[in-house]
């Protein structure tokens, strides 16, 4: 047994008081969970502590909280690990972020998380005609959506999403991962409509900043950000030219790197807005953006940050190297089926068969004696 101190964020809206912190000492074995610590404090010192929990085995997704500033399941975090990540030797537990607090550690999942899940039509829109018995689908295509199906709806990714922090309307990681579950399902009839809907939404799939917070928060390895990138890849292959410049930005980036080997930043912005060609910068949306950014451009030029020559003349790889790079672009783009490795299904090491124990007979006679 060991003593741990928990610092809990408390809030009771009915009291009219502001949120506050209080500390509780608990006595438990270090491998016990933070949830068990909270429940001990609740049982022994303060019965009014509010926390939602059920299975205590990381499968029901009820006990999502922030531990030392990072979202996760209280039942899935050992006390000793939580102590190691604490700033001052006290384990800090607070309600998840990006959602309103109902009481203490309980947040309103309906107001944010479930609303966003509903937003993405989280059910199968089946292909017609519906077969008399089951749909037969290839194994690989179901394996492809398995990762998103591992989600237990705990809301940890929603809590830590940095894009949602500044744009509460962002559909968010959990719902977008759920969207891929159907956009990637071969039985679903409306892939294109789903992708178009999420691409055209100003707070949709292109609102993600690649900050990896959701990957880090997820206790189940769903890696929501990776699913968002797959949605974008699919939308691109479907030729969806969204109004948020999402796909144009991607195409402009890829084209510019293919043309020069290095990124020509000065061209990226106008092309993302105006269209993926040299003429893109003369399109009206690019012009409007230019006007909006004029104060920045003027200052950058005056301060000597951006030399007009650098902005106009792209840096490029030397010709032989550029040719090599372009050959790789063409080669991969012309492949019938790109090789998309997903580490969710393990590495060579994970998937290696356990080598059989060397048989006793193989030991050369005498070697045993000499080693002794």
């Amino acid at each position: 047994m060991a003593e741990f101190t928990l610092r809990l964020r408390r809030y009771d809206p009915e009291s009219g008081d502001a949120p506050y912190w209080d500390e509780h000492k608990v006595d438990l074995e270090p491998h016990r969970s933070v949830l068990e610590g909270i429940l001990q404090a609740k049982a022994e010192t303060d019965g009014s502590i509010g926390i939602r929990c059920s299975c205590r085995a990381a499968i029901c997704g009820s006990c999502g909280v922030k531990i030392n500033g990072k979202a996760g399941l209280a039942c899935h975090t050992h006390l000793d690990a939580a102590l190691r990540s604490s700033k001052d030797g006290v384990i800090e537990v607070e309600p998840m972020g990006n959602m309103p607090v109902i009481k203490d550690l309980i947040v309103d999942m309906d107001a944010v998380h479930w609303k966003k899940i509903q937003r993405v039509t989280p059910w199968l829109l089946a292909k017609e005609p519906v077969p008399e018995r089951e749909y037969i689908v290839p194994r690989e295509s179901m394996v492809d959506v398995t990762q998103t199906m591992a989600c237990i709806q705990c809301g940890a990714c929603v809590s830590d999403c940095l894009s949602m922090e500044v744009d509460p309307l962002f559909i968010g990681p959990a719902a977008l991962a759920k969207a891929y579950r159907f956009a990637g399902d071969p039985r679903d009839a409306q892939h294109h409509e789903r992708l178009e809907d999420l691409a055209e939404d100003p707070h949709g799939m292109y609102d993600c900043t690649h900050c990896f917070k959701c990957i880090e928060a997820c206790p189940k390895g769903v890696a929501p950000m990776n699913q968002i990138m797959r949605l974008r890849r699919k939308a691109g292959h479907d030729g969806i030219n969204d109004r948020n410049n999402g796909n144009r930005h991607e195409r402009a980036f890829v084209t510019l790197v293919k043309q020069g080997g290095l990124l020509h930043e000065a061209e990226l912005l106008p092309r993302s807005l105006g269209g993926d060609s040299w003429f893109g910068k003369f399109a009206p949306p690019a012009g409007l953006e230019l006007l909006d950014s004029l104060p920045v451009i003027t200052r950058a030029v005056l301060r000597g940050k951006v030399k007009p020559m650098v902005a106009l003349k792209p840096h490029k790889l030397a010709k032989p190297d550029l040719k090599q790079v372009q050959r790789i672009f063409d080669h991969v783009d012309n492949e019938e089926q790109p090789y998309e490795l997903n580490l969710y299904f393990g590495t060579d090491e994970d998937n290696a068969e356990i080598p059989p124990e060397p048989a006793a007979e193989t030991v050369a006679p005498g070697s045993e004696g000499s080693s002794l």
């Binding site: 940095l162 609102d207 900043t209 900050c211 917070k213 990138m229 930043e265 650098v310 840096h315 580490l343």
Partner: protein
């Protein structure tokens, strides 16, 4: 030490002062830079968005070029861009995980006689400072300690997450290295909410308001915590935090005036280089507080002994003349 050096694109385009300051600082740290000028853009996660295999193959080519330099005596591959670190680590994780996949990618590289062998060491300058050079050595090289300079770290997402891919652990706390370096250089680390958050740059063309709100809020938090400047190992963060700061100010409705330094610039200042040599005059936000500090009593004395005496006598930075 000798490194196969990958500067990235932005450090030679819109933030030339980053590449320039690295070149100035390297000899002082006894780092021999062998530039990988045949390598191409890491893709910054955007090429992977288009095609994962394309991004992996392009970076495998970069790694193969670096491995040639390593065979010729370089110790490892070094980058100066958080985003390159993250994008390249992501590709490396996949390439290293499967021999089958590696063979497939190497087949694409074969016509030019290149091949990637699993397990390259590719480290950002920040990691090189702490893990290869060492904080004690770094402190011993300081000629103008950053006494009384309050510096807020700003990491950039790609160099702190996901922790398993970047080998960040309790034993190897790479997500605290900026603070350790600031301290080793004699500065004061400012703790503020935004240090490990996203600068917003990746969505500047998709959702400008959200992007600038992120930049504006983090710089505002640093200002509220009374930072003189922030320092970042990521040139893309620098674009949103410095170049776009006037627009971020407009977005969040407050004056920020927060100078943003590249990591090699901060190191260079402490090693005795002048702000001009490090290209500080090229930033959009005038680093007045930092310049004032270099011209203050503490800064102008130069030698270690002098700096320490001045610091002990309680001279404070930020009081020098205009610049």
């Amino acid at each position: 030490m000798k490194v196969a050096y990958w500067p990235g694109c932005v450090s030679r385009g819109f933030t030339p002062e980053l590449h320039g300051s690295m070149a100035k600082v390297a000899p002082l740290l006894d780092i021999d830079l062998v530039p990988l000028d045949r390598a191409c853009c890491s893709g910054a996660g955007v090429i992977a968005e288009h095609s994962q295999e394309l991004a992996d193959t392009l970076n495998a080519r970069t790694f193969a070029l670096a491995q040639k330099e390593i065979a010729n005596g370089a110790d490892l591959m070094m980058n100066i861009c958080s985003t390159c670190q993250g994008a390249q680590s992501e590709c490396q994780q996949r390439l290293d995980a499967s021999a089958d996949y590696r063979a497939h990618v190497n087949e694409t590289l074969a016509p030019e006689g290149l091949a990637y062998e699993a397990g390259i060491a590719n480290k950002n300058f920040l990691w090189v400072l702490v893990e290869e050079i060492g904080l004690d050595k770094l402190t011993s090289l300081v000629r103008r300690p950053l006494t009384d300079l309050r510096v807020g770290p700003f990491y950039g997402c790609y160099i702190v997450r996901p922790t398993d891919r970047l080998d960040i652990s309790h034993e190897q706390p790479r997500d605290t290295y900026l603070g350790l370096v600031i301290e080793a250089l004699g500065g004061t680390v400012v703790d503020y909410a935004g240090s490990h958050k996203c600068c917003g740059f990746p969505i500047i063309t998709m959702n400008k308001a959200a992007s600038l709100t992120q930049a504006g809020r983090h710089m505002g938090d640093a200002k509220d915590a009374e930072a003189d400047c922030v320092v970042t190992p990521c040139p893309l963060c620098h674009l949103n935090l410095d170049l776009q700061q006037p627009l971020a100010e407009r977005q969040v409705g407050r004056t920020l005036d927060m100078p943003v330094l590249h990591l090699p610039q901060l190191v260079g200042l402490a090693l005795g280089l002048s702000p001009k040599e490090l290209g500080l005059q090229r930033h959009v936000v005038k680093p007045t507080a930092v310049i004032d500090w270099t011209t203050s009593v503490v800064g102008s004395v130069g030698g270690v002994a002098g700096g320490k005496v001045a610091a002990a006598s309680g001279a404070s930075g930020g009081s020098g003349g205009g610049w």
